[in-house]
Symmetry: C2
């Protein structure tokens, strides 16, 4: 199974049941397209239905997560989703702020004995309730806590960006491998039906030969004191936090790895928000097929869109990678069609991600967004920074 093929991550009994699930998804996709009568020649989608290659077995019990770092994303986006998980439950909280930890513990029913701080963190190895450590800390702390968790014998789900350097990513992969533990990166778009459907359409020829990807991600950064704007904590600016979605989209929609990058950054250093990290950064990726991608990210304007153009049509997503409310359009044969892909087996991308991690950890199977996926993005990100700094094309 290539890294670009989707493993059926929520099948109940392996390949035997997964294939019909996948076929049913294909059938619904094809019908969606046929109903509108705008598109022809996509019958191959149904015929191309792929069997689920996963050997993952559903865990016999829900696996316990320790959430490390109690910021907005952890407490308001991720933690509430455990209620919707089939294979995952909240087991422990790790925070440097005991009051905050106790408050969320009370809200989500985590016992006092399962609260850790950053000094006591390594004792998590003795906690049988915790199977998986989910690192939701500022970027510069990802490597340390991933490695400490692996050494404590826990599997690790680590937020994107995986770390702040290629060297850190490699150390994280090595630590998890040495400990025999699963490492996955929090690339939620790989569990989101619109993005999955776009990957599938692109891969299966719905837009012909893939030629050009354009991807924009950004938001207007507010408080200059936030960790995202501190180089020591974030490792970089908009590229680390948002541009990584643009890089990801170019890779998962072309199905290729870039061989060169040429970048430009533009930052007003007199703006107190941008004293340490870049604001606007824009780059070009060259792919072996001849496909080209323009990507950008910004901390001073709002962006969330992705387009891939092929020689038979194009796919537009805007917004492409929100928490909810995705839009997917297929433009072909003179017609434009808004597609509503069938929902995945998980209720949303966050649940899909958590449960896929649990299944991977339980079965020992490689997750679809393993550490190597994060490492590859970090190679590209480092090349983008180098290109922008040196004013030249950088080979990857």
């Amino acid at each position: 199974m290539s890294r670009r093929e989707q493993k059926c991550f929520n099948c109940d009994s392996g390949v035997a049941r997964a294939a019909p699930v996948e076929a049913e998804r294909e059938r619904r996709v094809t019908e969606t397209i046929d109903r509108r009568g705008l598109l022809i020649g996509l019958g191959g989608l149904a015929a191309a239905a792929t069997a689920c290659n996963s050997s993952a077995q559903p865990p016999a019990r829900k696996l316990g997560y320790a959430i490390v770092g109690l910021g907005y994303y952890a407490t308001r986006v991720i933690i509430p989703q455990f209620a919707n998980c089939r294979h995952s439950r909240l087991a422990a909280l790790v925070s440097g702020d005991p009051d905050k930890a106790r408050r969320y513990a009370a809200e989500y029913g985590v016992p006092e004995r399962s609260l850790y701080d950053y000094r006591s963190f390594d004792r998590i190895g003795d906690d049988p309730d915790v199977d998986i450590v989910y690192v939701v800390l500022p970027n510069s702390m990802h490597a340390e806590y991933t490695i400490r968790a692996a050494r404590a014998g826990k599997h690790v789900l680590c937020e994107k960006p995986m770390a702040v350097s290629v060297a850190e990513c490699e150390a994280m992969i090595a630590a998890c491998r040495a400990a025999g533990r699963t490492l996955m990166i929090g690339y939620r778009s790989h569990f989101e039906p619109h993005n999955l459907h776009a990957m599938k359409l692109a891969r299966e020829g719905a837009i012909g030969r893939r030629r050009y990807v354009h991807a924009e991600h950004g938001f207007v950064a507010g408080d200059p004191g936030q960790w995202r704007l501190k180089k020591a904590l974030a490792g970089g600016g908009s590229l680390m936090d948002m541009g990584i979605y643009s890089v990801q989209a170019a890779r998962y929609l072309t199905g290729e790895e870039p061989v060169a990058v040429t970048a430009r950054a533009s930052t007003d250093r007199s703006d107190p928000r941008f004293a340490e990290v870049e604001d606007l950064i824009a780059w070009t990726l060259d792919f072996p097929s001849g496909a080209i991608s323009h990507g950008m990210s910004s901390y001073s304007s709002n962006h969330n869109r992705v387009r891939i153009a092929g020689d038979r049509g194009r796919i537009d997503m805007e917004p492409a990678t929100p928490y909810a409310g995705h839009s997917l359009r297929l433009v072909r044969d003179g017609g434009e069609q808004r597609l509503a892909p069938p929902p995945g087996p998980a209720v949303n991308q966050f649940v899909g991600q958590l449960d896929h991690m649990s299944e991977s950890a339980a079965s020992g199977g490689a997750p679809i967004v393993a550490g190597e996926e994060g490492l590859q993005d970090m190679r590209i990100i480092e090349a983008i920074y180098r290109s922008a700094a040196e004013g030249r094309t950088v080979r990857i």
Copy 2:
């Protein structure tokens, strides 16, 4: 008047009447925005209403055009528009195909004596019916026929791209200057209300500080035998024909001139359409303010969109530069609004362009898209080609 400010090109009696026309346009824009209640702080638009700086007087009579080259654009797009012009009329046809010339002459009431071919073209100097020569030939012939027309004592409207090299553009400007004749380039977007309104909004601060422009133009080229795909006739591929709209948009929306360009081309030379010219080409423009533009053009996929993002909002146009059916959206303050700019004084962009040329020729005033505008685009286009060929950033 800077090159980026719009001259009121259809005012009836100069500044005295033009100012109220402009003020009325401003009022309607402001009301359009206020009605939706989404936008605030744009009151300055009305206060900023600019007086018409044109000293052009409407011609006492309709000026006569000779159309040189009877391809699709000339015969199906331009010629029918003379019926809607106030200051312009069709006076002569120039073609290498006498049957075709006679057919269109009959259709549009052009007398036999006003039909020319490429050998008899220079006799047009003796034709008092012809004031303006409109060059709608393949790109490589623009320079020759512009220069011959100027030497014959005629004003010239020349289609974009102005020519196929900077040297040719300079020679065309020099020839028209030496002959004391007006030279204008067929940049129809400068006479199109949505594009004019986008320029105005961007210029007047509606999206704050301008940071990023993305512009895509392309279509799927068919017949490999068409002149657009022959290097000797077209001078280049998708960049010459379509990418020039992306370059233009970056310039007229930022209101700046780029200082450097970095480009990549990607062409399948085994495709018979692309044996001589480029298919996909993508570039980055650096502007002095720090604004960055990504532009692209293609002959293997359909594209027509432009976005400019500022630190207070963005403007989206898709399609941005069609013959008709433009769309303009302003995204700000959490709201998105489709804007319907008030129509210009001309019924459409083609009529606006023809009549502005007539007014400029009659008055001796500089047209808003004079030869220097085409020359500047050609400097950028040459830099894009050089950058793509040499794999390095090229200063402009």
